[in-house]
């Protein structure tokens, strides 16, 4: 056993710390980059809608009702009231994104609180909380949102609340699963060995490891929130006319779909493109940042 006789530790051979991952992400994922640009385009149009929109979104051009796309002055045509569809789509992006973000914020926050409580409490409290979540989850979020709208009434803010509350269930479920998984990790046990108070352990070691995957969830769920809110408007129980909401526009255009297909088609395309772009972005972010999906190098 003379192999180890040199007693002072030899300096470790230290390969340089990996750091180039983030730089190459856009290059390695062209679809992600494209989707991100599209989504960013929607955000910019929403932010600068008053600048880009050629018309007021609720102005009724009596002289050009149901004008087809590429009519002079109405690039994407007009609807049955003579409102400019391009302007309405641009302003509609504000509602879509605003409602989506607001609802997801409510859902994520509620889900974080409920999921943390359930995952940390354990025992009977957890059982009760998770049965509540289960009963919420048993219904699709659209049905649930319809139910909440029935209680709250119509309007943009009501839609945000309804969709947000409907999303609490799925968020709570993933948060709880993450909490259960994180609290069983060795570093939580190690923190206890150090004598840290339980609340400190939760705050410093459990919460950050739950919030990051939650943020990834948020990017994925935004599209669901937008879809549900548009569906509410389409059903005529969400946002009230003449708000330039895509769901509302699709619903209004439905009656004319055989001879003025652009009325429903244009907002429909906008909605589809945004949803697809957001899901690609969400998936890309998840694959890139979710530690569970990365190879654990050792």
């Amino acid at each position: 056993m003379t192999l180890l006789d040199g007693a002072t530790p030899a300096p470790a051979t230290v390969p340089p710390v990996r750091r180039r991952r983030r730089l190459t992400m856009f290059v390695r994922r062209p679809f992600f980059t494209l989707a991100l640009l599209v989504a960013a385009g929607f955000v910019v149009s929403a932010a600068f809608a008053p600048v880009f929109a050629p018309w007021d979104p609720t102005y009724q051009d009596i002289g050009a009702m149901m004008a087809p796309p590429a009519t002079a002055g109405h690039l994407l045509g007009t609807d049955s009231y003579g409102q400019d569809i391009l302007s309405r789509i641009l302003f509609g992006a504000r509602y879509a994104l605003g409602i989506g973000l607001g609802a997801v914020a409510i859902g994520a926050l509620g889900g974080l609180v409920l999921g943390m409580a359930a995952g940390l409490a354990g025992g009977r409290t957890e059982w009760v909380l998770m049965r509540i979540v289960d009963s919420i989850l048993a219904l699709p979020s659209l049905i649930l949102a319809v139910a909440f709208i029935a209680i709250l009434g119509q309007g943009v803010d009501k839609v945000i609340y309804a969709v947000g509350v409907a999303l609490i269930g799925p968020f709570a479920r993933t948060v709880r699963a993450d909490v259960m998984q994180v609290r069983a990790q060795l570093f939580v046990e190690a923190a206890g060995l150090m004598g840290l108070a339980w609340l400190t352990v939760v705050w410093r070691h459990i919460l950050p490891n739950v919030v990051y995957p939650l943020a990834v969830q948020v990017t994925i769920r935004i599209s669901e929130a937008i879809l549900v809110s548009s569906s509410l408007s389409f059903l005529g129980i969400g946002v009230t006319p003449p708000t330039p909401d895509w769901g509302l526009m699709i619903s209004e255009g439905r009656a004319f779909v055989s001879f003025a297909p652009w009325m429903a088609g244009m907002p429909g395309a906008a909605l589809a493109i945004l949803l697809i772009a957001l899901s690609i972005v969400g998936d890309g972010i998840r694959e890139e940042f979710d530690p569970k999906m990365q190879r654990g190098g050792s």
Binding site: L4, P9, P15, V17, A191, G195, G297
Partner: protein, 346 residues
């Protein structure tokens, strides 16, 4: 047995029984008692280094969890400086937390992936208020240098480090609280040989210069003899032999230690199938000696009596009715004339 140095840890006939449930039919389940530890006697003196060796499933990790107070013994007593360990751990700033540091086998899993190396090492320093806030970076840098890592590792996250580097970070973090006892569960296994050698040198050096008491779990007899003065051999939840490492390895008293010694002659070669014969399941141990099924020295009384760990030679203890107690230097193979085990208590 020489009694110099007060014991830091003392295990007095510690038993740890896990209850496991398993399905025996579509709707039937049975609960079984699984004694992971059974009649464990051990004392760990100040400034000593103890290697715990044994096959997989012999109860090494369970023993360490008892030492750390993570599990309470089902029976018997586990003492830290004379007090029950679970009691010594009570209170947020109990000295136990600072005194006893743990290095996990899964070093990566024991480090919060969302914290930088600097934050990880600073955490115990801050928690135990070991120095002023503005001295912390210097202290972290000193600890990193102590374990042979360059200073720029401080800004890295565990995911960006190699296996060997992560072990070093875990060691630095364990040292940060200035402990007097370091408990390491397979701290070097699973790494390539040169990294293992570097880490062993580091641990040996730390032990010498910082006066640490070391409890070191290993599969590897070579590592045990390099690093540790004392050795405890576990078999199926019982310590079957203790004593100075080199004496035990050169002249094992328990037939199981002898078999281990023969099976793993080389350095960095973990224990592998030391003996023919079935290892009985801990769930239903046969009566008598737990090693009887595989023991070449078995006699009739071995099947009737379960030998406790008792003294066989000065400073040497074994749990065997017919221990190998030959002249020092080579194991005696006198199968029949071995003296029966005097029922000496530790």
């Amino acid at each position: 047995m020489s009694e110099e140095g007060a014991p830091i840890f003392e295990l007095l006939d510690v038993e740890k029984i896990f209850t496991i449930t398993r399905a025996t039919g579509p709707l039937k389940r049975e609960t079984l008692r699984l004694p992971a530890l059974d009649g464990v006697r051990l004392r760990i003196k100040q400034n000593t280094s103890l290697a715990l060796v044994g096959e997989s499933g012999s109860g090494k990790s369970t023993l360490v969890r008892i030492l750390l107070g993570l599990n309470e013994p089902s029976n018997g007593q586990a003492l830290f400086r004379g007090r029950p360990i679970v009691e010594a751990r009570k209170g947020l700033r109990a000295p136990f937390h600072r005194d006893v540091a743990m290095i996990y086998q899964d070093a990566r899993g024991s480090l919060n992936p969302r914290m930088s190396v600097e934050a990880l090492i600073a955490e115990p320093i801050r928690h135990f208020r070991l120095c002023a806030e503005k001295e912390i970076p210097a202290r972290v840098a000193a600890l990193l240098a102590r374990v042979g890592l360059p200073a720029d590792v401080a800004k890295a996250y565990p995911a960006g480090l190699s296996g060997g580097q992560v072990r070093r970070v875990a060691i630095a973090r364990a040292l940060a609280s200035e402990p007097s006892v370091l408990v390491a569960d397979e701290a070097v296994s699973g790494l390539d040989v040169s990294t293992q050698a570097q880490l062993l040198n580091l641990l040996a050096d730390l032990k010498r210069t910082m006066g640490l008491t070391l409890v070191f779990i290993t599969h590897d007899l070579g590592v045990a003899s390099y690093l540790c003065q004392e050795i405890a051999v576990l078999y199926l939840g019982r310590i079957v032999e203790t004593g100075p490492t080199n004496d035990v390895l050169n002249a094992p008293a328990h037939p199981y230690s002898a078999a281990l010694r023969r099976a793993a002659p080389a350095f960095f070669e973990p224990i592998a199938e030391p003996l023919p014969g079935e290892i009985p399941s801990p769930v239903n141990l046969p009566p008598g000696c737990r090693f009887a099924g595989r023991c070449p020295r078995r006699q009739d009384d071995c099947l009737a009596l379960d030998p406790p760990l008792g003294r066989v030679l000065p400073g040497r203890h074994a749990a065997c009715i017919h221990p190998l107690t030959g002249s020092p230097g080579g194991p005696a193979e006198r199968g029949d004339a071995a003296p029966s085990n005097p029922d000496a208590v530790l």
